[in-house]
Amino acid sequence: MTTAAQAPQVQFSEANLRKLEEMRKRYPTKQALTLPVLWMAQEQFGWISGEVMKYIAGLLDLPVSHVLGVLSFYTMYNSRPVGKYHLQVCTNVSCMLRGSDRIMKHLSERLGIHEGETTADGRFTITEVECLGSCGTAPMLQVNNDFAENLTPEKLDRLMEGWK
């Protein structure tokens, strides 16, 4: 799919390439694969670099600008590297009413970084996010693909012992 001029630095794994061929059957256009392929890339590479964007554009016969446009619209795609544990703290109303401030403050103090930053060892990134649909188990945060709910600073401390 890619031309010689775009010879990629990056390459999907064999398994992902097979998955991509399978996904092509689900949609009538290649463009519809933009979101699924960005997800696949983020899972394999951790974040979406310029090189990855070019690679995706080549695979889907789309302008790189389109891929960038989509990438920049959706908050879950990382256009920069993030820590091994991406801590996404919900601060929307239901979490706020149940003390998300304390959670954010505790995290920030414990890790010595502010919201939006990554620890020097590359282990943790803290991001403030909008409602994650866990209002009944607030306050909460998302760590990579998992939800940590009904948080207290003490519970957070215990959880962090497991995030090595």
Partner: protein, 436 residues
């Protein structure tokens, strides 16, 4: 209006059956019988039954589901699509994830029945990206349903075929808006489209499309198996059925409760959710997700969780996500957080929303920051009024309504934060603002 509330309401959407998410358990409990029954009916009979049941959409707009289905063209050379909306991003809403986790086959069965009724060959289930765990659970259920011929080619030997694919969102509230959801499936930035044309005429890739909420579709098997007449008798006659109500904020037992529509708001707060911690008074309630109009604590008496009752109370049922705030809550902080949310989530297409949401947040921050002038309250209202009704989609309205209702009901909270010494006697008007 008197609505009989049984002591213990039977649960249909989330019954307490262990391992119901497993296909064998679901089948043993009568699962997929409604699909078999529907496949023995004519498609238009299925739609008629849903129409008669008075089922109304559970995603916020309360549109009659059966009627929506009749908008799909019968004679068309185009492919028809069903998009199941599991974006679930309205703050205060966390119900559809319970269906994905505890009763995914009920939703799948409902979606396939809907597809059969409308002659649809492809179903996309749009699930918010953050629900990675629930996407995994749903995918397992979908794979099992394919393996047993409930989805796919020649469903249960009926000659009807339909595919079902999960499409993962990536963090954008606006994609819960039906036209933005479609542009997102097409692989674009989630920009809403001008309506008309409506999705039934011009949906994904210009093809006839119906968009239904996950919970809405989960109600369909009940209607088919037990009949529209039975269903229409549950809860409020004009907005019947079981409904998943999420309650969060200052209550002892936050969570999702399955109840008949028409249940008293005060019963949900005081009985089901165990009341307010410390027996504190309630200062304010958001009844149906962050975009619905606020109610004062003393306005809750007699209000029922159905479309008409909440409309009469000056709000709406929205997604059924109740947020309770006790007497010690700094309401200004809450409304400012909501304004921040809509500012963050505005897609940026329409000027009134893109600029107005930012202005609302900015003005509200003046009150907490100690530099609000007397005229800032009216300015805030003016900005909200200029967003409402002037945008492509309902996000503009969703941003304006909470602010408008806050000013109407809690104006004193803002007045108390005016700083006489700001040095600004007249508010700074945004240059583009149309004042009336």
């Amino acid at each position: 209006m008197e609505i009989a509330m049984p002591e213990a309401f039977e649960k249909f959407l989330l019954p307490a059956i262990p391992d119901l998410h497993r296909i064998d358990v679901y089948e043993r409990n009568g699962g997929y019988a409604a699909l078999r029954k529907a496949l023995g009916m004519k498609p238009e009979e299925v739609t008629e039954e849903v129409k008669k049941s008075n089922l109304r959409g559970r995603g916020g707009a309360c549109f009659p589901t059966g009627l929506k289905w009749t908008f799909m063209p019968k004679q068309t050379t185009k492919v028809k699509y069903l998009c199941a909306n599991g974006d679930e991003s309205e703050p205060g809403t966390f119900k559809d994830r319970q269906i994905f986790e505890f009763n995914p086959h009920l939703f799948i069965e409902g979606a396939v029945i809907a597809a059969y009724a409308m002659g649809i060959s492809t179903i996309y289930v749009y699930v918010r990206g953050e629900y990675a765990k629930w996407i995994g659970l749903l995918q397992t259920a979908v794979d099992d349903a394919y393996a047993r011929s409930y989805i796919g080619k020649n469903v249960l030997g009926s000659g009807f075929s339909t595919d079902l694919y999960i499409h993962r969102g990536a963090g954008a509230y606006i994609c819960g808006e039906e036209s933005a959801l479609m542009t997102s499936i097409e692989g674009n930035r989630g920009y809403p489209r001008v309506k008309p044309p409506f999705p039934a005429q011009y949906g994904v890739w210009g093809c006839p499309t119906t968009i239904n909420n996950i919970e809405t579709l989960a109600n369909v098997p009940l209607i088919i198996s037990r009949g529209a007449e039975w269903y229409a008798k549950i809860g409020s006659p004009k907005h019947p059925g079981p409904i998943l109500i999420g309650i969060s904020g200052h209550v002892n037992k936050p969570g999702v409760y399955e109840l008949p529509t028409g249940v008293l708001l005060t019963d949900i707060i005081n009985d089901y959710a165990g009341g307010v911690p410390g027996n504190k008074k309630i200062k304010a309630v958001i009844p149906g997700g962050s975009s619905t109009m606020w109610l004062r604590g003393e306005e809750l008496e007699g209000v029922r969780m159905d479309a008409d009752s909440l409309k009469a109370a000056g709000s709406s049922i929205g997604t059924g996500g109740i947020i309770v705030m006790d007497e010690d809550t700094d309401l200004l902080r809450v409304i400012t957080r909501i304004a921040h949310f809509y500012h963050h989530e505005s897609c940026g297409q329409c000027t009134p929303c893109r600029e107005g949401c930012g202005w609302m947040e900015k003005i509200l921050k003046r009150f907490s920051g100690g530099n609000a002038a007397a005229g800032d309250i009216d300015l805030l209202l003016d900005v909200a009024n200029n967003i409402e009704g002037n945008t492509i989609c309902a996000l503009g309205d969703a941003a304006a309504w909470p602010v408008q209702s806050f000013i109407r009901k809690f104006r004193h909270e803002l007045e108390a934060r005016i700083t006489p010494s700001t040095g600004r006697t007249a508010p700074v008007k945004p240059p583009h603002l149309v004042t009336s």
